[in-house]
Amino acid sequence: MSERAPSDRGTWRLVASREFWVRIRDKGFLISTSITVAVLSVFIVLRAYGGGVGSFDLGWVGDGALAERAAAIGQRSGVDVTARSLPDGDAAEAALRDGSVDAVVIGNVQDVRDGTAIVRVVSGIPAQLDQLVQAAAIGLRIDGALADADVPATTVEELENQHPVAASPIEVPDPDRPAKASVAFVSVLLLYGQLFGYGLWVATGVIEEKSSRVVEVLLSAIRPRQLLAGKIAGIGVLGLLQLIVIAAFAITLATVTGAIEIPAATLWAAALTVGWFVLAFAFYASLFAAAGALVSRMEELQNVIVPINLIVFASFLISIGALQDPGSTMAVVASLLPMSSALAMPVRIVLGSATAWQIALSLVIVIVSTALLIPLAGRVYAGAVLRTGAKVRIRDAWRAAA
């Protein structure tokens, strides 16, 4: 029988390869991928075609003066209003029902001055559009009054075309901020799902080997740490691959549908998400593996992973909060701690809040703490994985592996 050189260094790769191939064929993997892709597609499509704030279609029946005026005012204040003519009230109603217009103004200039013009809507009018229409109506009435008072039309026009009163912000706003926040939100959601889902897969994989007792056969041939490393690597690579596929799909879909307004920031966010997944997964997977090794049956798993779940979930919530205020103390601390940096730091980076030294410090902390954690978790795993029956206490597992 042919044999390799008497070394077992590459054994973890065999383990990793089994984990990868067994799981990629698993129905659960297919289902989870499909669900993620579906949810993401809905989000992107809604963003692309949801109309968004600040973009309206305004129909008109009559001479169109009010609609044109509203569009003109909108343009000066950065709201995109497209005015279009409709032949009559029936057409207006049809256009409203099929969603091709947000509102239809009905009436001529005289109707506006008389107060008989109306804005036809399905059930309500967006506040921003309403303000534009009202301002346009006031403008038309003032125009009329000035004309009645023989003020020259050129003077009126001059007055109207003056610049609007500009807002002077204390902080320079980022016009891409809402778009970046959306991208960051998707990143956090994906990362949270991957870390939790694949971490849980590591824990259940450990228990599966324990409860089926195959672990004793395996550990008569290989070391506990090779089994652990292979399992984490195999599942981690699968999680990484899934993340990359989903990110590529999302970016493609968003580009095609026009949902992405800032391609560079999106690609940057995708790269950060993938990179931080690798670091954080190694951290969380070793925790999940050690926790899984403490129990012998799936039913007992919940008890041992509750603390880990809480940490992941709290990190997720803090990171969602960081979308609003990426510079808050809590967001900064979360972006530095190893258990939450993977979720909080990409948010802060995408939103432009993280400084270079914070990013560097965060990376150092997560890498060092993962390097410290893996042998500790590996020892608990090695000490507990062959003990079936009652739940193993961490201290006992620690001593058993001495």
């Binding site: 070394s7 056969v217 550990l219 008569s220 070391r223």
Partner: protein
């Protein structure tokens, strides 16, 4: 002959319980050793220590004169007391994987796995998931898992439990062939003592963590302290044997008596007396079975 597998001075405690108390024995290459003892005597612990899944408090395990490490143990095959395979993995795929974990390359692992499934008459199930197999077939796959990397040492914890007579015969054939053709050192534990007596070259007996007997069946018989004879005499009065000092009735049945002879009691005198009191139909030494030896030792 160089030493094969050696267990040397193994000690292991679990809390206050001494599971192994200076356990030493050898399993030479090409020999089949039966490892017997009451439940809880330490058989499984000794086997787990041999495979390195449990650390001894003291002592060591050697193979061909050298302390075994993980690399050396790649040449060991093991059936643990608690059977274990991946339930959802397919049979052939699983065997190939286990062989590769023992350092066998992919092509050789596959050839070997197919051969073994053929030998064990489960080749037709090689594409099925393990969990869909009957318990008997799962047991065969478990044996295949221990053999697939063609080990030099086989350590089998209760390999016959749960096997039907046909499965038992298959396993006996396989073990004999491995021993004969490849010179494998085999040690297996069992409570089926007739089977152990029938197929083993040597028997090692453990009681409460101590090795109490180690040798061929004949050695064990010879070392036995009790001597028994079976006598069938027609027409003799009751308790005719009591006139000879040191002779005691051990049991009787179907017209024959089993007499225990104390040290110094001569069996020829018993025969002479028997002939003088009646017609002797049968007179023989009772060769104790392994079960009887086991009961004596275990209750001592």
């Amino acid at each position: 002959m160089p030493p094969g597998l050696e267990l040397i001075g193994l000690r292991r405690r679990f809390g206050d319980v001494v599971a192994l108390d200076d356990v030493s024995f050898e399993v030479d290459e090409g020999t089949l050793v039966g490892f017997v003892g009451p439940n809880g005597a330490g058989k499984t612990t000794a086997m787990r220590v041999t495979l390195g899944v449990l650390q001894p408090d003291a002592g060591e395990v050697r193979w061909r004169g050298r302390a075994v490490d993980r690399i050396a143990r790649r040449r060991f095959g093991y059936i643990p007391e608690e059977r274990g395979l991946y339930p959802k993995m397919r049979v052939l795929e699983q065997l190939v994987y286990l062989a590769r974990l023992h350092g066998v390359d992919r092509a050789a692992a596959r050839t070997s796995a197919e051969e073994i499934l053929e030998t064990l008459a489960v080749a037709d199930r090689s594409r099925d998931r393990v969990e869909t197999l009957s318990l008997g077939n799962q047991q065969r796959v478990q044996l295949a898992a221990a053999l697939v990397h063609r080990p030099d040492v086989l350590v089998l914890d209760e390999p016959f439990s749960g096997l039907d007579p046909v499965g038992t015969d298959v396993l006996v054939d396989v073990l004999r062939r491995e021993r004969r053709e490849r010179g494998v050192a085999v040690v297996f534990s069992s409570h089926q003592l007739e089977l152990v007596e029938r197929i083993c070259d040597r028997v090692v007996m453990i009681v409460r963590g101590r090795i109490v007997a180690d040798g061929t069946i004949e050695d064990l018989r010879a070392s036995r302290t009790r001597r028994l004879v079976r006598v069938e005499v027609v027409g003799a009065p009751d308790r005719w044997y009591e006139s000879i000092p040191g002779v005691r009735l051990d049991g009787e049945g179907s017209g024959a008596l089993a007499l225990e002879l104390a040290d110094g009691a001569d069996e020829q005198r018993v025969l002479d007396l028997a002939r003088s009191v009646g017609e002797v139909r049968h007179f023989s030494r009772i060769r104790p079975t392994l079960s009887e030896l086991f009961r004596e030792v275990a209750s001592a």
